[in-house]
């Protein structure tokens, strides 16, 4: 749920990085945190286990520039990927304005990608959000690995809606900001339709 504050001339949006465990969601946020100007970001908060696996969520607030005099804030969240954190994932999707689906390009993670995408669609429906209408982009991450599946196969399996998609190598920052800017644009366009 975007929150437009006309009194303070602010727009607040919630973006969620969704995808199977270990696909690189947290790494995306870490890279964004590293690269964004200090004045534009808050703390990166990770609710993680000792082994650094996301337990509940990661959270990164960004205070970006203005559009037509409206200060724009994006709150970035990641979900925990492991199967047994399903309840947590559902909670984090609540009120999402946009979703980045991060797919793991490795052949052995294909099934996990497909499962995770189906889960996401079901959770959105449960939240009263139409999964075919929410702003969504896909990131094919881990393109640097030898066992990465060719893009056209990933497209066939995961992108039937022909959504904007990006190749990424998150630890090197490749594709990370391209993905963020694309979802930011979609969400702002959607907001403009509603206002």
């Amino acid at each position: 749920m975007s929150f437009i504050n006309y009194a303070a001339r602010e727009i607040n949006c919630k973006l969620v990085y969704y995808g199977p465990g270990l696909c690189g969601k947290t790494t995306n946020l870490q890279h964004i945190y590293k690269k964004v100007d200090p004045g534009m970001k808050g703390k990166l908060i990770s609710l993680a286990t000792e082994s650094e696996r996301t337990l509940f969520f990661d959270f990164l607030p960004l205070e970006l520039g203005a559009i037509r005099g409206f200060k724009t804030r994006f709150h970035l969240y990641t979900v925990p990927g492991q199967i047994f954190y399903e309840a947590s994932r559902r909670l984090i999707l609540k009120g999402a304005d946009g979703v980045v689906f991060v797919a793991d390009s490795q052949l052995e993670r294909m099934e996990a990608n497909i499962q995770s995408l189906a889960d996401m669609q079901q959770h959105l429906v449960d939240q009263g959000i139409d999964p075919d209408k929410i702003s969504l982009v896909i990131q094919y991450n881990k393109r640097d690995l030898k066992n990465a599946v060719p893009i056209d196969e990933l497209q066939k399996a995961l992108n039937s809606r022909n959504l904007p998609w990006f190749e990424a190598v998150a630890p090197q920052g490749i594709g990370v900001f391209e993905t963020l800017k694309a979802i930011a644009k979609l969400v702002m366009q959607e907001l403009q339709k509603k206002t």
Binding site: F3, M40, G65, M188
Partner: protein, 168 residues
């Protein structure tokens, strides 16, 4: 399917909410009060908030209340009426307002929990009324002369998005 409606707040709404929050903060003798939407965004605050990092506070409070709600359902409860964190010097009281917003009250050594609870109940009703009115209001169209007309943000270009991120 019911679409998720956006929360749109105008000057007059915010001043009503701010008045409620300030009275609550004083009457409950609390250090600070935050009103947060259930998706984790701060709507308004009152009291000593300068030393607080309100953005992550709002996000974590929303996560905490959401988790409490899910726990309640697992136990066959409709909901838990509040979440309370008890520290050595600081205490946090979190409660839901009509399922759509969260009231966070930060207590210090001078605050009494019973008083906080009483005032939270009273002011929750008032704040809920403001939200109910907000949701009943017809969607203001961009008519000229309409004081509630939403300013048109206009077409979003690639340049707009680039500018958001500065040089980076």
């Amino acid at each position: 399917m019911r679409p998720i409606t956006n929360l749109v707040i105008y000057e007059e709404d915010l001043s009503r909410i701010n008045t409620c929050l300030s009275s609550l903060q004083r009457k409950a003798r609390s250090a600070a009060v935050l009103l947060i939407d259930t998706s984790g965004q701060l709507i308004a605050s009152a009291g000593e908030t300068d030393a607080l990092d309100t953005t992550p506070l709002a996000s974590l409070a929303a996560g905490s209340v959401a988790a409490a709600g899910a726990l309640a359902q697992l136990l066959g409860e409709k909901e838990f009426s509040f979440v309370f964190y008890d520290g050595e010097r600081k205490r946090l009281h979190l409660s839901l307002i009509g399922g759509r917003a969260i009231l966070l009250v930060l207590l210090d050594q001078n605050s009494a929990v019973a008083l906080v609870r009483l005032q939270v109940k009273k002011f929750s009703r008032e704040i809920e009324e403001v939200f109910t009115e907000l949701s009943k209001r017809p969607d203001p169209v961009a008519e000229e002369g309409n004081p509630l007309a939403k300013p048109n943000i206009g077409e979003i270009t690639d340049d707009d998005v680039e500018n958001l991120f500065g040089k980076g």
